[in-house]
Point group: C2
Chain length 367, copies 2
């Protein structure tokens, strides 16, 4: 293989696919990036068996071929090369040479044929939406997925296509996050659970352009995201997801409207008194025109208050402040609305059109 | 104690003194910042027994007093307070109240009388130089002090005043860094060893103004740096420092002049092939007009070259690239000069006036 790149093109490609490279594995080939110069551009691939990312990089190919290079080392070397032009050649098989200006690196390589190819997927069943919309929908829900693996389904997100809408939802047993968007076309119904890790990586690498589209292809065991020259393929999580619909339907008795920034600042300050092990609730005392907030922990106590617009009953209710903060950080509205019933019933945070719905369970007031 | 601050003033003060607060200690009082409102400003103090920092913060004192608050919590709370005005009051002794806007925090406090006062030092023997000069002299030498405590003296820096000059030097057994500056006045001779930790903190908190002076006071066991409203007092390291003079005098046979940035970039790239445990040298092959550089490790190999101006013999010599890089990062000159003799003798990097001298021992070429 003999190939010439522009350094920035190559670096952009590496930065994309390295997200799917294992950092800890017993199979060294999984720590590599595949360079495939068999066609007219060079395809880079990272694949950790759960998630595979492939992108194409413009290049001048003078001798075709395939080679796999340790991802971390390759990325570090390319980033620091002195010249805009990069020349990569692999000869006898177990080393590859990377040249730029007067700098020349020779590093171990692996046979490209040993690299696990991206599974081929039938591109039949799909939806299409803007990069921006997908990126936002993931960002605004993914934090509610469970971090630990006790319940595998909870570590993923529901992708549901129904009645011309895409609904993405995540839950962890204490809270639910749901985002809904109308799709531009009509598609057949779909319902899959995508691993949280996949979505975290997609959210990072997808440019988020409002004018550019992502195609999302659905298959029995896989989902494929295609945008620009990049393909992200992920396994799905098997199993029947929770009945979100039933959980998020419900009436309310108290509706509170307040300024998001002021509320966020208060929650943010209350968390200063909480250490990991010490789960103290933020108590909200909802009255006419104002809400008093307080928190007491081993480290001290805090009190604060905020102007509100209230409809319905006065109410005393308590929450894990981190759950409130997670929601506040992803909502873009300046003003938010809390819908509550009593101190034991879930609180809903949602906009008029219910494009987002966050549900948070309250904690016992007598902790 | 009842005191009003402006938040920014208080935050600046906390940021200064917190550098001298222990984070891990069995004496909780050492994790505190002392607020002393006995005079007309509030004095904040941090003291970890080796190093004490005291600064004064403008305040309106309505009731004098002294109290000590956990430094980390105090700093976090003040940083996030909503309003520019901060009101601190301590009443019955074991709590203190911090108010700003509608936010109110009550946190544990300790009796200010239990706080270890800063030792009183006789301010007789001193030197004076600009904040800028002191900050630079420390920055340009401190990296050569030893990180481990095998030899206590090596963890500190020599401060030597002689013939109207201040000389600061650090060494760790493999390299030496020396900086010299002419002082504006004549002072009596002094020679002390200041702990590296103290100097790292001073370098961080000293503003580095060219127009403002630092007074450095010397006593038997302590050194005191006074700048603006801040005092930094540190213990000295006991013992006779190494004979720097003898080590840095010596002739040379090869003088190489080269561009610092290009050289730095090459060293920086060569380090990509080195992992912690694997100490491979960067080999420099000094020829007429160019120097070839190469490094081979378990991870691969690299070659590079750089244009040079050479006087004297050709030479093959090898160094730990990290030691070279540390020097390059603190030298401000665009062009640097290496003075060498043979592959076993130290290399000197110094400017014409010898305001800086860096000595690096070569490593065995046959590693």
């Amino acid at each position: 293989m003999k190939v010439n790149f522009f350094k920035t093109d190559l670096m952009n490609g590496i930065n994309m696919v390295i997200k799917a490279v294992s950092s800890k594995t017993t199979m060294p080939i999984l720590e590599c990036i595949l360079l495939d110069a068999s066609a007219d551009t060079v395809r880079l691939t990272g694949n950790d068996m759960e998630l595979a990312i492939e992108t194409s990089v413009p290049a001048v190919i003078t001798e075709s071929g395939k080679t796999a290079i340790d991802a971390k080392l390759f990325s570090e070397i390319v980033r620091k090369l002195p010249d805009e032009e990069v020349y990569i050649s692999s000869g006898d098989g177990d080393t590859v040479n990377i040249k730029s200006g007067k700098a020349s690196f020779t590093v171990p390589s692996r046979d490209g044929e040993d690299f696990l190819a991206m599974p081929v997927m039938e591109k039949k069943d799909y939806i299409c939406l803007s990069e921006f919309t997908l990126k936002e929908m993931i960002r605004q829900t993914i934090f509610s997925a469970a971090a630990n693996e006790n319940n595998k389904l909870m570590t993923g997100e529901l992708f549901e296509v129904k009645d011309g809408m895409l609904r993405i939802a995540a839950l962890d047993g204490h809270r639910i996050a749901v985002r809904k968007e109308v799709l531009r076309d009509n598609y057949s119904d779909k319902k899959v659970v995508v691993p949280g890790k996949t979505l975290n990586e997609i959210q990072r690498i997808i440019p988020g352009d409002r004018e550019k589209d992502v195609y999302v292809f659905f298959a029995k065991n896989h989902i494929l995201f295609e945008f620009g020259d990049t393909m992200v393929l992920s396994r799905l999580i098997e199993g029947e997801y929770f009945n979100i619909e039933r959980m998020i339907s419900g009436d309310y008795e108290t509706k509170v409207t307040l300024n998001k920034k002021d509320f966020t600042d208060i929650i943010d300050r209350s968390i200063l008194l909480i250490r990991e092990s010490d789960k103290k609730p933020l108590v909200m005392d909802v009255r006419e025109k104002e809400m008093k907030l307080s928190l007491t922990s081993m480290m001290g106590s805090m009190k604060d208050e905020i102007e509100i617009d209230k409809k319905g009953n006065d109410l005393m209710i308590a929450f894990n402040p981190r759950f409130l903060l997670d929601c506040m950080r992803v909502i873009d509205d300046e003003e938010i609305k809390l819908f509550m019933t009593d101190h034991r019933s879930p609180c809903f945070i949602r906009d008029e059109e219910q494009r987002y719905i966050y549900l948070i369970l309250p904690v016992n007031l007598n902790v």
